[in-house]
């Protein structure tokens, strides 16, 4: 089913147009890397505040309100360029082990952020000024730091589509 979706997108005229453009991939990848620096760089300070590693004198809510508008802007560019790269070359990414590992890590990050937002953040007034946040918040920070590093690494590894485990090759997705 997933393969059919990727093949469907691959055949769309707009996907073909992006794919055959001489400069589109260059612009997209360059913008993706620059916005990655903004997103990962800024979110690392949010995570480090939660983990008790940095900015301990600034209330958690102030770190959030000061950094998140920039994070949202960077994420819009980063996700937009990433989606367009996949849209323009779906059958290049479909069999790529590192691409799917990166998507899996992004899912963990989304779940981690949702858990923080829906559960831990509800009590933030109680520990807003604490230099070290409660254990659950610290764990959320460490998980986010580790998985963001993983997303960056697997994103870079997407270019090495041949350096994959044998069991993945045996799936015969390519």
């Amino acid at each position: 089913m997933l393969r059919s979706l990727f093949e469907f997108v691959d055949a769309l005229p707009s996907s073909v147009a992006w794919r055959e453009s001489l400069n589109a991939y260059v612009y997209l990848l360059t913008a993706h890397v620059v916005s990655m620096g903004v997103v990962a760089g800024i979110i690392s300070y949010w995570d480090m505040r939660l983990a008790g590693m940095a900015l301990k004198w600034i209330p958690v809510s102030k770190v959030q309100s000061g950094l998140f508008p920039w994070l949202y802007g960077g994420t819009a560019v980063n996700a937009g360029t990433g989606l367009l790269m996949v849209y323009s070359q779906p059958m290049r990414y479909y069999p790529n082990f590192w691409f799917w590992l990166k998507m899996g890590m992004l899912l963990v990050l989304v779940a981690n952020a949702a858990y923080f937002h829906l559960s831990i953040e509800k009590t933030v007034e109680k520990w807003d000024n604490d230099p070290v946040a409660p254990l659950k918040a610290r764990v959320a920070g460490y998980v986010s730091l580790a998985f963001w590093a993983g997303v960056i690494a697997t994103g870079r590894m997407t270019a090495y589509s041949g350096l994959v485990p044998q069991w993945w090759i045996d799936l015969g997705l390519g």
Binding site: V26, M36, W70, A153
Partner: protein, 159 residues
């Protein structure tokens, strides 16, 4: 004096050959380089945004800059250390790439602005240098390091 013989010499070193002929060292070093980019970008941006009057405005500029400085310095060291093997193993490609020289010029200017000019500006409380200079320095810093990233990406894509 041409630097071409030096770049040719770099590429013929056993260290460069090791990176070219082995499978995993190059991608691993590239991943470390990219993670260092993110750490460097974060440490840079929180101070540059603050100089622009944005971001973490509840903190003073000197306190924020001094907290970010170790992350900035050590990620810059990691960038250089992880960049050297990549440059050595493809030295001649880099030598003939206009984007490599663009990147190196921007790194040179960026390092002066960040580690000399901005460090001085960010060491004083808001208002000490007037309302304009901190903003000019913050914008210059962001522009220079964005240019470094664009140049770096274009070496791989267009050289």
């Amino acid at each position: 004096m041409s630097l071409q013989p030096f770049f040719q010499w770099m590429q013929t070193q056993p260290f460069a050959a090791f990176f070219l002929e082995s499978i995993w060292p190059t991608p691993i070093v590239q991943c470390i380089h990219l993670i260092s980019v993110a750490v460097f970008a974060g440490a840079l941006l929180i101070v540059d945004l603050r100089l622009l009057g944005r971001g973490l405005t509840s903190s003073s500029i000197p306190k924020l800059a001094s907290a970010a400085q170790p992350w900035l310095v050590w990620s810059f060291v990691a960038l250089i250390v992880s960049g050297i093997p990549q440059m050595m193993s493809t030295a001649l490609k880099e030598y003939y790439s206009p984007f490599f020289w663009w990147k190196m010029e921007m790194v040179f200017l960026g390092a002066i602005v960040t580690f000399v000019v901005r460090k001085r500006i960010a060491s004083k409380e808001e208002g000490h240098f007037g309302p304009v200079w901190p903003k000019v320095v913050g914008m210059t810093s962001i522009a220079l390091w964005t240019s470094v990233t664009i140049g770096a990406r274009l070496i791989g894509l267009l050289s």
